[in-house]
């Protein structure tokens, strides 16, 4: 039997949040601390039930009074050597902002699932990527999942990457709110024996221990501060390889692979390459299949790791493209483009690749991105290919009646 056939026999239909919660359990965290927020709630509810049923005997689960304290408690737990996990979204993640820097600065390998959701105002509980993209510079690794299986599998990969002695950086596993968190689809739930083989126990070098007292979180003057940031940047550089290694090793043991830093679909001879992150990937693949059948050379570059940004891998994948399209579920207001657009243009600058990059802001606040939206964007990219770039970045599917 092929790996796919084996997987099919093992598959169960569960909610995305359940699949992730199951993965968390199987990764055996020592401390979980969390605060409920829509649409992350099903993850923490499932974890609470596992605890209530005695399925996580070695885990301390704490329902705290805010997201700020959820992550702060993990600072303490991680510093004494515990494997730690939390989950949040949107306003909760924004509330954690200050702690995020603190975690990465102290090199604590905390893992969090981010159920991507729009930010207020106006208040909106549906999906886009503004929450996690707004945390871009906090020093966390950010991985984006395409479907629930990938999000579930990424949980084990995230612990492995974060806890690697040459990395020691926290990881956000980003998955689209509702579209992935609340969808029921067939998945293979992570198996304990395979995860035990894949993910060794966390064995930190530096911990708070009365037998060997150390000081964590000292203050750094101008004479020493810069080097802490430099070393974080170096660790992000190491993480580029470790993210690939973690994906490859996962493939070896579990037989599933979604790309390392990036994944490519029909890019080899593609004239137009669409770049995107998260659950929209599936829709784009369907459109590409249809266009390919008509002989149109369209490809897809899925960005799996947004931080560290895969500069080299992106350049390599885009080197023969004639037009590059970026789809962003986020917007930098005042620049009129999303983060993927900006990063992509930046990584092509100072290279020989001079294909135009056109950016589209899509799917904000949970607005559906139907196939015809992707079709229109491809048609516009073809227009750019034949007659040159006119608009660099723009909103998509605006409702003129509301403006």
């Amino acid at each position: 039997m092929t790996a796919q056939e084996v997987d099919k026999k093992k598959m169960v239909v569960v909610e995305g949040s359940y699949a992730v919660a199951h993965s968390v359990k199987i990764c055996k965290p020592n401390v979980i601390s969390a605060y409920p927020i829509t649409p992350q709630t099903h993850i923490v509810e499932n974890l609470s039930q596992f605890i209530a049923d005695g399925e996580m005997p070695d885990c301390e689960y704490h329902n705290v009074e805010s997201e700020f304290s959820a992550l702060s408690a993990l600072v303490g737990a991680s510093a004494v050597g515990a494997r730690t996990y939390s989950a949040t979204t949107s306003q909760g993640l924004e509330l954690m902002h200050e702690v995020l820097f603190n975690v990465s600065g102290m090199r604590l390998p905390i893992v969090m699932t981010i159920i991507n959701r729009a930010v207020s105002a106006p208040i909106n509980i549906w999906n886009d990527h503004q929450d996690s993209i707004s945390q871009r510079d906090t020093g966390w690794i950010q991985l984006y999942a395409e479907d629930t299986q990938e999000a579930a599998d990424m949980t084990a990969q995230a612990h492995k990457i974060a806890e690697d002695k040459d990395v020691l950086l926290p990881v956000m596993i980003c998955m689209d709110g509702y579209i992935l968190s609340h969808v029921y689809e067939p998945v293979v739930l992570l198996e304990q024996d395979l995860v035990d083989e894949y993910l060794p126990g966390y064995a930190p070098v530096f911990v708070l221990d009365p037998k060997n007292p150390m000081t964590f979180g000292a203050f750094a003057a101008p004479s020493t501060y810069t080097e802490f940031r430099y070393l974080q940047e170096q660790a992000m550089g190491v993480a580029l390889k470790k993210i690939e290694d973690a994906a490859n090793k996962f493939n070896e043991i579990f037989g599933r692979y979604y790309g390392g830093l990036i994944d490519e679909y029909e890019t080899e001879d593609a004239e137009i390459i669409i770049m995107a992150m998260g659950s929209i990937i599936g829709t784009i693949k369907d459109v590409i299949d249809a266009r390919r059948s008509k002989g149109e050379k369209i490809g897809l570059l899925k960005v799996r790791s947004f931080r560290p940004f895969p500069v080299e891998a992106t350049r390599k994948a885009l080197k023969n493209a004639k037009v590059i399209v970026t789809l962003d579920k986020n917007i930098s207001i005042g620049l009129n483009e999303g983060a993927l657009c900006t990063e992509t243009k930046a990584c092509l600058h100072n290279t020989n690749i001079d294909a135009p990059v056109i950016g589209y802001t899509v799917g904000l606040g949970g607005r559906d991105i139907p196939i015809h939206t992707i079709e229109n964007i491809i048609d516009q990219a073809k227009e750019v290919m034949s007659s040159g770039i006119t608009v660099e970045s723009q909103f998509t599917d605006l409702r003129e009646d509301l403006i």
Binding site: G76, V80, L208, P210
Partner: protein
Amino acid sequence: MKSLLAPGHRGCAGCCDAMAAKFTLMAAGEDCIVVSPTGCLEVMTTPYPESAWEVPWIHSLFENTAAVASGIEAGLNALGKKKNTKVIAIGGDGATIDIGVRSISGAFERGHDFTYVCMDNEAYMNTGVQRSGATPYDASTTTSPAGRASFGNPRPKKNMPAIMAAHGSPYVATTSVAYPKDAIKKVRRAIETEGPTYVQIHAPCPTGWRFDSSKTVEVGRLAVETALWPMYEMVDGKIEAVKKIKNRKSVEEYLKMQGRFKHLFKKEGGDAEIKKIQEIADANAKQLGLDM
């Protein structure tokens, strides 16, 4: 008793934080993990790569100390390493009573086994003496300055011990750096009591209160002897013991030693303000039965 706060730190002469931290560690011994918020104590003891802490110590942020302490306790429990190790938070009044209230409230409600020690020097000293919720009535600070239309801080101190007792804490106490034996005894009792316990140590700051750096203990004693800083223990929410005062002194004696109250003796209407402060002391004495 060995001091586990090494000399050579950057505390000012007469520093109250250094005394509070030293007494806390004397009470705790070596088998502890200490958390501190941002503040004077953190800055003066840990200029990287130096550290004055001879016990494991962590500083995370300004407003999350109790949450970090709760995570340490949870982590030690999960890893089977808790045993007799004590988890202690030591923070200033701003980090505790103002910006850290959400965090400390949550950690106490969750019932973590740790002790929170608040070094109460009644303002934000690390940033240059701005008022906090613990600043007493009429104290002049850089953000509640006395002026032509002001006698200084317009509000009385927040009663944090009562708030912590209301959380169901099994042990809440007030003490002062001016009474080292009392401070060590109460911190030790707090540490030995299971569950979340709270000790507020009154900590006169020569720099912020503007008195001579040789007078920290003297000023601290006067705060107690005037009943402006009553010392007591609360067990399961009930006052169990108070430090009685023989021949209670007038608040004037306490106020006149400090630059932060200087305006009360110069400005028209100052007498009436001093009278109001005396009423605060009288009310404390009456409520707690302090007079012998």
